[in-house]
Symmetry: C2
Subunit: 199 residues, 2 copies
Amino acid sequence: MAKAPPIDKRRNILDAAVRVFARQGFHSTRVSDIADEAEVAYGLVYHYFKSKDEVLNELFTERWSLLLAAIDEADASSNTPREKMSAVAAFIVDSYRHEPELMKVIIVEVTRAANSFGRTHLPEIRRAYDSIAKIVADGQELGAFRRDIDPVFASMSFYGAIEQLLSGWIFEVIPASATDFEQAKELVVATICDGLEPR
Amino acid sequence: MAKAPPIDKRRNILDAAVRVFARQGFHSTRVSDIADEAEVAYGLVYHYFKSKDEVLNELFTERWSLLLAAIDEADASSNTPREKMSAVAAFIVDSYRHEPELMKVIIVEVTRAANSFGRTHLPEIRRAYDSIAKIVADGQELGAFRRDIDPVFASMSFYGAIEQLLSGWIFEVIPASATDFEQAKELVVATICDGLEPR
DNA sequence: CAACCGATTGACTGGTCAGTCAACCAGTCT
DNA sequence: AGACTGGTTGACTGACCAGTCAATCGGTTG
């Protein structure tokens, strides 16, 4: 049996797709662009994937499951609710820091495109909101968070704030240096947990 | 000269486009869909607009300028910084409440699609962030807001949180009743200004 | 009425791509 | 060697659609 060809063409194609999608956007990417970038014949893309859509689906699913795992892990830890929120923020920011192109594709083409593409993935996206909401709800139980704000609502605000920051970096609306990333982690949590008004 | 034809076809087309874009998304809308919805011949769309893109541009620009004006007006008022933030949140939420289809189109197809379409409008979008940031900065001057959070950063978090809520309503991830709208206005401000942790 | 002009119509064209498929190639097994 | 298999190739097709344009309509002016 088996080969495990030294070079995994399927992986090549996926990686190439990230680069091309990030550069041109999903819609204006031709399948031939992916093939070219991967230095592979046009038809091979269809050998490994059912359609152009499936390539994006795969990229999203691969990554999103990591996020879901990270949230669950944060939740399972014995940290304070606030530290759990910190962990989630840190995971997302670091994801962007280490793989900006992939995150750009996921956010721009899926998460923020709930219309076209994201529609298929709404359930998974929603699971992230729900898991974060659970952290908030537990925090409320413990008295660490105020009880008059609906957890799902808080979760959406929190996630929305983070995603907006990533968008800002992606579209170069705000500066994106290493220190900006570190600050961002702290500041989102500070904003959401402590608020803008002085204590 | 002049007529002012009782029925303004250009307006018809614009309104029809909102409905169709909201229903099917910009990309999967054919120009013929717009013409059909407006009960107008295909070619007429091109009589009034240079291209399909221009229709969307027009819709966005029309609306966004109202938002910018609303922010400026809030800023110019003699209210507290927090009340100014409230006014901005209220304006956006009410916009959605009264014209959900238009807001859906603007958010989904422009604001959150900074890749394809929004790219053209980044400057205008940015202006909104900047104007909100100015409110925050003034609040810091006055001592109403803490000074260790960058105004632009705060502005992005605030706007991101609101937009995320709209997205939640748009994609039916969270319930959207009249009371939800009213609550939302208060809760975003409470979250961002006071924070999740009890005072 | 005749000339004019902007609004309106919808058939048609040109270009673009996603996806198909028949052929080819390189191992592996017998 | 011969047969088989799965990876690999890229030319080709069918569908789709934005935008064009020549023709028509209806109202106004002189």
